[in-house]
């Protein structure tokens, strides 16, 4: 129900902002691209629309804030919240003899996560006595109305109407007060209007998540600060990647330059390449335990095959006339290796390194989810066991940001170190 509302709002914002930008902004910009005869189907004419990206990111946060009742989103943009406060309804009791009497139930609904405050109600007159119930928003309360009544369900009494509307076993009625039903044993099941907002236990508002970042950055979580958790994850990735590259690149070179090496290692590499590193986690834990060694070996294995294949492709990709040119300029075998084959393979190796870093980062989080005492994945895992959804979200966002940051750094390094990539 909430899901379809959110989807609808999202699609509406997408369409409306597109139309708004199309008619208000782009009307005035007739640049060279817009004058091209062919702009549809010409992939080079399609660039990312900056406004769309900004609106897209804003929309995500807006919907997030709006459907969680965030204090960062102005109140009029909030989705309807759940009922909070005091309400009451009347039930009509009929005894086995057919005598009817009305009584009122006073309900106090506390906000998400608030302590329920018990309330008292005077019993009132008649065989049915007034009741008082305290509950939380978006919850369903089962009201044992006859605890204080003179005639109970055991005596054959039953509820026949709520607020004057007839109700029987299995019926469900909705009034302005909320949703009512009778349980199998005849008790009243009452749910006040739940609105469209999410409970923090499912999706906490953004300020809670940011609050958690600040809190964990200062005080730590599970005996380690946030930086220590992230640092451990990064350290494992970098250590595993470095070992993988240190062995994988020479292995790839050897496979690219010698038929014996290629014949020997090809079956192993081709077999190991399609095995997802996640499938190795159980074996690595059995062999090396859950400590650092196991994790670094896992990441080493994740990056080894990628780097070996990238280095082999780099060697095989060298234009033979470059090698011929170097030989006829008097270069020795070693010099051809050092000055032609190695630099020529760098672009491929960088592509491999980017892939390997991405895979390693994903693998380290998964490995920490399984077992670890520090790390970003471990943080999420433990938090989820205590239903600390804000820490889980914080962890996911930080993992995404760091993964993105790693890729940007790799691309920067690539444009500095191999500027000729894709341009020869």
């Amino acid at each position: 129900m909430i899901g379809s509302v959110i989807l609808l709002v999202y699609v509406a914002i997408f369409v409306l902002s597109f139309l708004a930008v199309r008619f208000l902004v782009h009307k005035t910009t007739r640049d060279f691209t817009s004058l091209k005869t062919v702009t549809f189907g010409d992939e080079s004419a399609v660039t990312s629309n900056r406004i769309a990206s900004i609106v897209s990111v804003t929309t995500v946060f807006l919907i997030w804030g709006s459907f969680t009742g965030s204090s960062w989103v102005p109140g009029f943009l909030h989705a309807p919240g759940p009922f909070v406060g005091e309400t009451s309804f009347t039930y009509t009791l009929e005894t086995a003899d057919g005598v009817r009497d009305d009584a009122t139930v006073y309900v106090k609904v506390a906000d998400f996560g608030q302590e329920t405050e018990s309330i008292e109600a005077a019993p009132g007159e008649g065989i049915a006595k007034d009741d008082a119930v305290a509950m939380n928003a978006s919850r369903t309360a089962t009201i044992l109305f006859d605890r204080n009544d003179e005639v109970t369900r055991k005596d054959g009494a039953r509820v026949v109407a709520i607020d004057g509307i007839a109700i029987g076993a299995g019926d469900e009625i909705r009034t302005e007060t909320g949703r009512f039903a009778l349980t199998d044993k005849g008790a009243i099941s009452f749910a006040p209007p739940s609105g469209l907002q999410m409970e923090p236990i499912w999706l906490p508002p953004p300020e809670d998540v940011v609050g958690r970042v600040v809190e964990i950055a200062n005080e730590g979580y599970r005996d380690s600060t946030l930086w220590r958790h992230l640092g451990y994850s990064l350290f494992r990735v970098i250590a595993g990647f470095v070992f993988g590259a240190l062995l994988g690149i020479p292995l790839g070179y050897a496979m690219g330059l010698s038929d014996w090496f290629r014949g020997w290692f090809e079956p192993i590499v081709e077999f190991m390449r399609p095995v997802p590193p996640l499938a190795l986690i159980p074996l690595v834990i059995i062999w090396f335990g859950i400590g650092e060694t196991g994790k670094i070996i896992l990441l080493f294995l994740a990056s080894l095959w990628i780097m070996a294949i990238a280095a082999r492709a780099g060697v095989s990709g060298v234009n033979i006339s470059k090698v011929h040119a170097a030989y006829s300029l008097g270069a020795s075998k070693f010099q051809v290796m050092r000055h032609v084959i190695m630099p020529n393979s760098l672009p491929e190796i960088f592509t491999g390194a980017r892939v390997a870093m991405g895979v390693c980062w994903g693998t380290v989080v998964a490995a920490e989810l399984v077992a670890a005492s520090e790390g970003a994945g471990m943080m999420i895992m433990v938090a989820s066991k205590f239903q600390l959804t804000d820490i889980v979200l914080m962890g996911i966002i930080l993992i995404g940001v760091i993964g993105f940051g790693i890729d940007i750094l790799m691309r920067k390094a690539e444009s500095v170190l191999v500027p000729w990539k894709g341009r020869s």
Partner: protein, 268 residues
């Protein structure tokens, strides 16, 4: 004996399906020091194979190449090569490309600096010496390839369609440059080309090869290269012999092409 001798070379390639192709059969010729010979022929006549054998990238099935009295057994700095597509090293700037040979030999910068700078001047690359290779146009890249080859001071320069990928105007300019460098340095040059005009203008000697099997068909001795040094190449083309020789060679190559086509049709 000085110069380059190609002695009765045959080359046969074995194909994966068991058959074999006779790329060259009994090719013999001798180049004296400082001679510029252009090689023409229809595609498939073994021009590039011949050049690769002389460069030492391929070992002939029969015969041998003798350079200044010793047998060629592999590539060496004495035989420089200029490729159709520069085969330049993108990871080095223009100057490092040109100084590659001397550096591989272990020379110090002080030993090669003057020579490299001189070559950069002669080839018109002085203002581009710090540029990256991918920033240069095709013509500029071929200048780098020429300068890189000359910096190594080889005895023989082997050119495999060095101007083939250039536009007509740039090509004409580069032809002038090749002639100028040939005269200045006195190198022995073998130039493979597809263009009859280029072969006529640049070749002191002109070799026409015939295909299947690749062999020498006819050899010319031409005056145009000497006339063209430092002169306007378009004036040279007005020489009466020029047009006549060009027609004769074109006719010859056309006949060969037709023969190939005819054989292909007959085979079908």
């Amino acid at each position: 004996m000085t110069g380059l001798s190609i002695e009765n070379i045959s080359m046969r390639f074995d194909l994966p399906n068991g058959s074999s192709v006779q790329a060259l059969k009994n090719v013999s010729l001798h180049l004296n020091e400082g001679e510029l010979m252009s090689v023409l022929g229809p595609s498939g006549c073994g021009k590039t194979t011949l050049l690769n054998i002389v460069a030492g990238f391929l070992a002939p099935t029969e015969g041998q190449v003798v350079m200044n009295g010793h047998k060629v057994t592999g590539p060496a700095a004495e035989r420089g090569m200029v490729f159709q597509q520069g085969a330049l090293f993108e990871w080095m700037d223009v100057r490092s490309n040109v100084s590659f040979g001397p550096r591989m030999e272990g020379q110090r910068p002080s030993q090669y600096d003057a020579h490299v700078d001189h070559l950069l001047n002669v080839t018109g690359l002085r203002d581009f010496k710090d540029k990256a290779i991918y920033e240069l146009s095709g013509g500029m890249q071929q200048r780098v390839a020429l300068a890189r080859c000359l910096a190594n001071d080889p005895d023989v320069i082997l050119m495999d369609e060095p101007l083939g990928a250039l536009d007509a105007l740039t090509r004409e300019k580069m032809q002038g440059l090749v002639l100028k460098l040939w005269k200045e340095t006195g190198k022995t040059i073998i130039l493979i080309t597809h263009s009859v005009e280029e072969a006529l203008l640049l070749g002191e000697r002109l070799l026409v090869m015939a295909p299947r099997p690749g062999r020498i068909h006819k050899e010319y001795n031409l005056p145009f290269a000497d006339l063209g040094v430092g002169a306007d190449l378009r004036e040279v083309k007005k020489h009466p012999d020029y047009a006549r020789t060009r027609e004769e060679i074109l006719e010859m190559i056309w006949d060969m092409e037709e023969e190939i086509m005819g054989r292909a049709e007959a085979a079908q």
